[in-house]
């Protein structure tokens, strides 16, 4: 696999603010690479430096083998860009936007099929100003795909979308990867990073604090699984505490939380409860998620 994006020691300052503070990473061809972090972490600044829309103060950027500052026109033919903040003329119609943007590229795909795919087919004749926020977002994603790009940049692709549209968008992005393209996206939804990305860079205060596959990030944390259930009345939890793999047991009112590691944790807990004759209900397990990874790395909760 080749390398689609290579960033080395990138810096970008805005007066006193170190928006990007020494960032290095590579994006491999054919992967979905995600950059996740809280508001103001430097995601947009980084991605726009890579796209060639902002000039880094220091560091090198190579995209598809090109220098985004020097070979901007050549590069922009081959990439698709969805900006976090952009607009279109208020009275421009959806089909006109696609028609116009496709005229900028030598190579393009069928705009009608794109609209169909993004659920905008019935909005073909709607003016941009009359679209809802989610529809605008989907139109911008259509525009990012109109030239059948090798590499797609999506800055906050599902912000403003409802859960159903968000899931549809994930499927769409996976489809892009299946066609052999590369995706570089940013998000502040940990779930999105976990479910969608092959590799994730966690960025905070302009620095990458972790970069790996979501599974590895979660595993490296050594975070515990949780088994949660409810028992009516009094019972003795000593046998549970003694079980292999269990690290601690907590009670919150009638609810019990068993923390532990290992494959057999749930089976072990259920078996022990049955042997003790304890009647439990509402049992569920909670896996550690990227939220926990972020919390562990930054000491903060990333709010959705």
């Amino acid at each position: 696999m080749g390398i689609a994006v290579e960033v080395n020691d990138l810096y970008k300052l805005y007066r006193a603010v170190r928006a990007v503070d020494g960032v290095s990473f590579t994006v491999e061809e054919g992967e979905i690479f995600g950059m996740v972090g809280p508001n103001g972490a430097g995601k947009t600044t980084t991605i726009e430096c890579v796209e060639g829309l902002r000039r880094p103060d220091r560091g090198t950027v190579r995209v598809l083998g090109l220098d985004p500052q020097r070979d901007g026109y050549e590069l922009r033919r081959r990439i698709g860009v969805q900006l976090q903040e952009a607009s279109l003329p208020p009275r421009l119609k959806v089909w006109e936007a696609l028609d116009l943007f496709s005229s900028f590229y030598p190579h393009r795909v069928d705009g009608k099929a794109l609209l169909e795919q993004l659920g905008l087919a019935d909005k073909r004749n709607a003016a941009f100003e009359k679209l809802s926020a989610g529809q605008k977002q989907r139109l911008f994603i259509a525009l990012a795909l109109i030239n059948d790009p090798e590499l797609v940049f999506l800055d906050e692709l599902t912000t403003g979308l409802d859960p159903q549209a968000r899931r549809a968008m994930w499927d769409l992005v996976r489809g892009i990867r299946e066609r052999g393209k590369t995706v570089f996206l940013t998000t502040h939804f940990m779930e999105e990073a976990e479910r969608l990305c092959d590799r994730v860079a966690i960025i905070d205060h302009g620095k990458i604090v972790a970069l790996d596959t979501p599974e590895n990030l979660i595993r490296s944390l050594g975070a515990e699984q949780r088994v949660v259930f409810t028992v009516d009345g009094q019972w003795d939890d000593t046998p549970l505490r003694g079980m292999p793999g269990v690290t601690r047991v907590e009670h919150i009112g009638e609810r019990t939380v068993v923390y532990g590691r290992g494959e057999g944790l749930v089976g072990g807990v259920v078996g022990a409860l049955e042997r003790m004759g304890v009647r439990f209900r509402d049992l569920r397990t909670e896996q550690p998620t990227m939220e926990d990874v972020f919390l562990a790395l930054t000491g903060r909760v990333l709010r959705e």
């Binding site: 607009s87 116009l100 900028f104």
Partner: protein, 247 residues
């Protein structure tokens, strides 16, 4: 120049979708002509050197259309495209900045031409206005006035921090110009005290150049106009280019 024609077409369509802009460019000047024609008619009068009121009004109104598009429509449009983030989005495509700016200019030029054609047609059909010059000369004079004023329009857009500011500045400059340049009211009927302001108004030179060429003046009689309008084009264009920004 990929994208130029499509963008030109889209920009022209968008202009025509703005009812106010379309009204003042295409409908208002012929309407005014009909109104004043109904009042004054087009009888030759010694006051206008043997020409009728409509004969001299039509070439003067061309200046009215130029200032409306150049100092009101254009600065608002250009500043709004920047402010709203439309330009940012274009910048992320391989569209060449030159293709963008040329199609922008061409779209405003097309609107001006449509407005002028409507005006001339109305004058010709309803009032049988006289034309004593050469079409080529008038066309060149028109283009000189238009490009000079477009340069001023881009200058306003470049210097104005917001679209609203561009609109305010454009209107504050355009409205006095319309009335003190001879574009709406012939200079001859303005009081002498007001006439002293006219030489300081760029639109005066557009009106006198087009009017002069319309009635067959040689170019050599209009060096001042040419100098002023070329000056507007060069100075306005240079400052506009320096103050241009994508966002």
């Amino acid at each position: 120049m990929r994208g130029f024609w499509k963008l030109l077409l889209v920009q022209a369509k968008l202009y025509l979708r703005e009812p106010v802009a379309t009204f003042f460019t295409v409908i208002y000047p012929p309407l005014m002509l009909l109104l004043f024609g109904a009042i004054y008619g087009n009888k030759p009068t010694p006051f206008f050197g043997g020409r009728g009121t409509m004969d001299v009004t039509v070439p003067a109104y061309i200046g009215l259309i130029i200032v409306t598009v150049g100092l009101i429509g254009l600065p608002i449009g250009a500043a709004a495209a920047r402010e709203s983030g439309v330009l940012r989005r274009f910048r992320a495509t391989p569209l060449h900045p030159l293709a963008y700016i040329l199609s922008d200019i061409a779209s405003y030029l097309s609107m001006t031409v449509i407005g002028v054609l409507m005006l001339i047609l109305t004058g010709a059909i309803v009032f049988h206005i006289r034309f004593e010059g050469s079409v080529a000369s008038v066309l060149v004079g028109f283009l000189l006035g238009t490009t000079g004023f477009f340069a001023l329009g881009y200058l306003i857009a470049g210097l104005a921090p917001t679209a609203r500011a561009a609109q305010t500045v454009g209107m504050v400059l355009a409205f006095p110009m319309m009335f003190l340049s001879g574009a709406t009211i012939p200079l001859e009927v303005l009081p002498a005290k007001v006439q002293v302001i006219s030489p300081y108004i760029p639109l005066t030179y557009v009106v006198s150049l087009i009017k002069g060429l319309w009635f067959g003046d040689p170019w050599s009689q209009h060096w001042t106009e040419i100098a002023v309008l070329v000056g507007c084009l060069l100075v306005g264009g240079a400052i506009a280019a320096r103050t241009f920004r994508w966002e």
